[in-house]
Symmetry: C2
Subunit: 113 residues, 2 copies
Amino acid sequence: MYLTKDVPNEEYEPYNEPGFEGVLRRKLLNPENSSKQFALRTYIIDPNGHTALDRHSHEHGVYILSGELDVRVGDRQAIVRTGDVLHIASDEPHQFINRANEYAKFLCVRDFA
Amino acid sequence: MYLTKDVPNEEYEPYNEPGFEGVLRRKLLNPENSSKQFALRTYIIDPNGHTALDRHSHEHGVYILSGELDVRVGDRQAIVRTGDVLHIASDEPHQFINRANEYAKFLCVRDFA
């Protein structure tokens, strides 16, 4: 068993990769500390923040913990809110944009298959 | 993109497998609807409820969404609460027991590698 914990927003680290704006991330489970087949992370996106338009071979599972996000996957678009869950398949281009007035937070799984 | 959502506790389905007591489950992402390499589910455990003492080759990643649980993994034991995260490795025996006065809810990932 490996134990870790989420932390208050103020303790999150900025995720300063190209194309990301106003995004914070916390790495929870990954092969460096525990899990072999998947990684589990939480992301916070500030109002007006967004992730890069990303595309890769691994899948994503996303559970919205709080807030509201505009998500674009391929040529589809949706508004997702607390309790919504989405799957992004291998090679689907995807981007999260926060157009609301409060921060949004989600849990994200990726596989290592 | 596949979209689904969590629901209020009253809409959860009982998880009546042998050894489980007072456990409800909602299947979110899995190979039948979307994800190939992992499944994502939420579980609710009522006060005095518990999962079976389980052991299997797949890994688990668990994020506690609310409440407090006594978790036993191998010969270790821990109390986990909202925001705590744990990893259960392949073949580690594990059991969740709710000894608190309120329900506990967690998000659970399993791999299909």
